[in-house]
Symmetry: none
Subunit: 231 residues, 2 copies
């Protein structure tokens, strides 16, 4: 399952710098967006909600700090300032109105990309939802280690849970007994096919509507088991 690449907005008036950074950013695997003025920068920030903003302070139409202030009124998107001004008061001013980092030109693209990774790391937590596996009335939250049947939580023992999630990982496909024993019991000697029968029965009792006629937890006689995914 592929997540779209993070999008970077560059606000910079010098065409030469834009070309340079465009190559660096696209080479780094990011989606790239550019604005040549502060006004355009704000507009694009609203429209595209980039994941990181690179901001040159020396813009023709408005002061960079003003732009920061106006941006921070509604957005907490990480901003990395890139500037030719290396004076300490410039840095302090930018950081204190809400910038997250400050790079003085000239800088290496490697460092810039590393600092972008830091910014993305900061923005990330809480953005991602838990991946859910759903099937019929079942809802499995692998991150929470939680199994719901029709909204009702069902408690699974460690072995039951491992057996179940192993089948989920190979959903739709037949998993051989040998493979299940290896993945669930960890290749410990003495693991017998009998275990599978016992625990599959327990899973069916806890999860299936009619355990004697399993709808999803199906047996492939002589081979193994399979989690049926479609009706």
């Amino acid at each position: 399952m592929s997540v779209p690449a993070p999008q970077i907005l560059l606000v910079e008036d010098e065409p030469q710098m834009r070309r340079f950074l465009r190559v660096a950013l696209e080479g780094g695997g990011y989606r790239y967006l550019e604005a040549a003025s502060g006004q355009e920068g704000l507009t694009l920030a609203v429209q595209h909600r980039p994941d990181v903003i690179l901001l040159d302070l020396g813009l023709p139409d408005m002061d960079g700090l003003d732009l920061m202030t106006r941006l921070r009124e509604w957005s907490r998107t990480p901003v990395i300032v890139i500037s030719a001004r290396g004076r300490e008061t410039d840095k302090i001013g930018a950081l204190d109105v809400g910038a997250d980092d400050y790079l003085t030109k000239p800088f290496g693209t490697g460092e810039l990309l590393a600092r972008i990774r830091v910014a993305l790391r900061h923005a990330d937590p809480g953005t991602a939802e838990d991946p859910l596996f759903t099937l019929g009335r079942w809802r499995v939250d692998l991150a929470r280690r939680q199994v719901l049947v029709g909204g009702q939580e069902v408690h699974l023992t460690p072995l039951e849970y491992r057996l179940f999630t192993t089948l989920i990982r190979h959903a739709g496909k037949v998993v051989t007994q040998r493979q299940l024993l290896k993945e669930v019991w960890g290749g410990v000697a003495g693991a017998q096919p009998l275990y599978l029968r016992v625990y599959m029965a327990q899973l069916r009792h806890k999860l299936e509507e009619d355990p004697s006629r399993p709808r999803y937890l199906q047996t492939e006689p002589g081979v193994g088991y399979r989690l049926r995914t479609e009706e």
Copy 2:
């Protein structure tokens, strides 16, 4: 009602640099803590849980990147690297193992303080959000380190509080015993699952209505513990 000043841990072997930064940090209104070696730094980080860590990479007893890696196993405390090494590869390496910022010596104290403010801003995820965690009759003010049960304040020892807030940070999810031991005891060797049983029992006695039938502080046998969030 005043919140205690943020605490900064400086890990730096040169006494001269320590003196200089101590003055700067205390002058900036921060509580100050120092370590002259990497080992001491890790120990103090575990014991005092500073809000920001300033780390010199050139330590005598261990490599700064190793320290970063070991710290990141259990903590997300912002780390600002201060280093005499200004090579780009040094910066990239440090940032990619988890550092949040990289300052090359010499630097101005004004810039350092501004970057500390940025780090503190990042660590406090909800300036506009609710710093309160509520669940049932519980109210936890993470900023003030205060726990209320039905309006009544309940005193927790440092370890109890850390264990509790660790579960809160992963609310709803199962936290494995290994992970809890790492995050609460700081990966110190000798931490045993027994500790968890003892402290979970204490937490339940202080927080749960019926400690023998916990409603929120739940055990996942063989796996870990979980703070239940929904009824």
